[in-house]
């Protein structure tokens, strides 16, 4: 299980890293081409948007799976002393996962709507609903990951603590 997670965690990270690297090199080239040769990369702004979406959303399930979201650990000691940590973790993960379901569904609906309008990116001419589909799918995966994590805390606490360690 943990091996499988490790392998699964690699792929999104590689995709995100690649997107970020391209973003960096492209921004650099755009500035140089624009100022030295007066020939900016026309699709740069569209590409930036696309690469950002890929970068952020491909690692979002990984961040969630690893419990990497920014949170306040002020009462950690209290929960530990009261032996409630497991229940609290189960609650927070299930809670976060469940509240993501509706936005994920609506993102899909919005993507479908933009498909019916035939919206495309201004310079890149890429249909916008591809991006929408991608975001909807990843948001749904993130919700699923969080719910699985929450259930894990409830039914397989040993496995969860070995994963977190």
């Amino acid at each position: 299980m943990s091996r499988l997670l490790h392998v699964a965690a690699r792929l999104p990270a590689i995709l995100a890293s690649l997107a970020l690297f391209i973003l960096m090199v492209m921004t650099f080239c755009d500035v140089i081409l624009r100022s030295v040769f007066n020939a900016p990369i026309e699709v740069a702004a569209d590409m930036t948007r696309l690469l950002m979406a890929i970068m952020v959303f491909s690692v979002l399930p990984v961040v969630s799976a690893q419990g990497g979201h920014i949170s306040v650990d002020l009462l950690d000691g209290f929960f530990k002393r009261a032996h409630l940590t497991r229940w609290r973790n189960a609650f927070t993960d299930l809670f976060c996962g469940v509240i993501l379901i509706w936005p994920a569904m609506r993102v899909f609906v919005l993507a479908e709507r933009s498909r019916s309008y035939g919206d495309v990116m201004e310079y890149l001419r890429l249909p916008l609903h591809y991006v929408g589909w991608f975001i909807a799918a990843v948001t749904a995966i993130t919700a699923a990951v969080l719910i699985v994590r929450g259930l894990g805390h409830l039914f397989a606490p040993k496995l969860m603590s070995s994963l977190n360690a």
Binding site: L20, T27, D30, V56, F57, I70, I99, V131
Partner: protein, 437 residues
């Protein structure tokens, strides 16, 4: 007004249950918005924000600046920055602690995070100060305090988030942080001098460095200093003269900075393929969690606005005929109180949507307020009981009790308050540089 306050309380409860701050704010914002409008409108607003935020051109500064800091870090520049400032300051009494402050300032010029600055510098500076018999109190405190400069001296992740939340120019915010950052360094240096004047044993003088050694120490850091000059200068418009005609948007400045840092690290042969991948992956993960938090904060702030909380607050101010400086004083007290328990980013996200409209309504400059908020946040990073920088240091150093660090930090904390008063009384210190842009 009541809905807004209840919402705020609900976020606090959820956050205390360790619900990630993005989800806590997003959920409360969603439910609150739903009560004010309808289920459909609320979910649509949320979905729109998720789609738009991830494809926001302006947001690309976030990962690019983080990446720049990580690349420079991988190039081992923190060690060299410390060596260089040590070469010039080490022979004074308390010199190693002063060198720590200056090196923190230099590192802050590339890194946008206070925690990263403190963590990095403690690995480099702590062993040196121990070797020369510095008291644990002075050495840990100088790193914890110097580390706070990370979020004020540009680039700064906190300032980027503030700029995005309030639609204030990120370039101007960065430039506005320069003078207060310098004042911070100078006052911290004065605090070190004060400590060793009171207790000469705390920081004995190190060995004097010859001028040729000084020169060679400088050689190791010039590239990074040049990179900072290029990035911030480009943002400021320094090179916008013929024949260069080079001026950067924040995204472009960040892209140039990241690429420059990448090339510097490559040239020093400190960057393997694995290390590059590491930096990219770490950046993407950090950026993703920051984006989640931003989306949550936006949902929450949409709710707070539709519930009329900022309006109600400003009505309250008019009703009681409060002078602006009293309101500002109250806001700052709230910040310092919140800072005692909250981590800096959470505090910023929770408070800015509520206070920003009030403060600008009173006629305060949005850029100035941004810098003030960051300075207060810096103070909160070294204020007990939850001074995050102190905990970072405690974790890295290991054998110094938290109480000792907090005691050592007190003089630094006091000069921080002094700096805050200075910036409150003389807004020109903040606004001089950005007004020239």
């Amino acid at each position: 007004m009541l809905e807004g306050l209840l919402g705020f309380a609900a976020v606090l409860v959820l956050v205390m249950l360790r619900v990630p701050i993005a989800f806590a704010m997003g959920f409360v914002g969603m439910v609150g918005f739903m009560i004010e409008t309808s289920f459909r409108a609320s979910i649509s607003m949320t979905a729109r924000l998720i789609i738009d935020t991830s494809q926001d051109y302006g947001l690309s500064v976030v990962p690019l600046f983080i990446l720049m800091g990580l690349f420079v870090n991988k190039a081992g520049i923190s060690r060299e920055l410390y060596a260089a400032s040590n070469a010039f300051l080490g022979h004074f009494r308390g010199g190693l602690a002063m060198a720590t402050i200056v090196a923190c300032g230099g590192f802050a010029a590339i890194s946008g995070s206070s925690l990263a600055t403190a963590a990095t510098m403690s690995k480099v500076a702590m062993p040196e100060m121990r070797r020369f018999g510095y008291s644990d109190r002075l050495s840990t405190a100088s790193i914890a305090a110097g580390g706070t400069l990370g979020i004020l001296i540009p680039p700064s992740v906190i300032l980027v988030i503030y700029g995005l939340l309030t639609e204030t120019s990120i370039g101007k915010l960065f430039v506005a942080g320069i003078i207060p950052g310098f004042i911070g360094i100078l006052l911290y240096l004065a605090a070190v001098r004060f400590i060793v004047w009171r207790d000469p044993e705390a920081g004995p003088a190190g060995t004097r460095t010859s001028s040729s050694e000084r020169l060679s120490a400088l050689k190791d850091v010039w590239a990074v200093l040049l990179l900072f000059f290029l990035v911030i200068g480009g943002l400021y418009g320094l090179f916008d003269v013929p024949p260069l005609n080079l001026s950067f948007s924040p995204t472009e400045a960040a892209g140039m900075g990241a690429m420059g840092a990448f090339l510097i690290a490559l040239a020093r042969r400190r960057l393997s393929l694995a290390a590059t991948f590491d930096a990219l992956r770490e950046t993407a993960m950090t950026a993703a969690s920051l984006f989640a938090v931003l989306i949550g904060a936006w949902i929450f702030s949409n709710f707070v606005n539709i519930a009329g909380l900022p309006n109600a607050l400003s009505n309250l101010v008019t009703a009681y005929d409060l002078p602006p400086w009293v309101v500002m004083g109250m806001i700052l007290l709230i910040y310092i109180a919140l800072g005692c328990v909250f981590e800096s980013l959470s505090m910023l996200l929770l408070t800015v949507p509520i206070f920003f409209p009030l403060v600008t309504g009173l006629g305060y400059d949005p850029i100035w307020f941004g810098i003030i908020v960051v300075v207060v946040t810096e103070i909160s990073l070294i204020t007990p009981p939850v001074g995050l920088n102190v905990f970072v240091l405690r974790a890295v150093v290991g054998d110094v009790p938290t109480a000792t660090i907090f005691r050592g930090v007190t003089p630094f904390w006091m000069v921080d308050i002094l700096r805050l008063l200075l910036l409150l009384l003389l807004p020109g210190l903040v606004l001089l540089l950005p007004s020239q842009m």
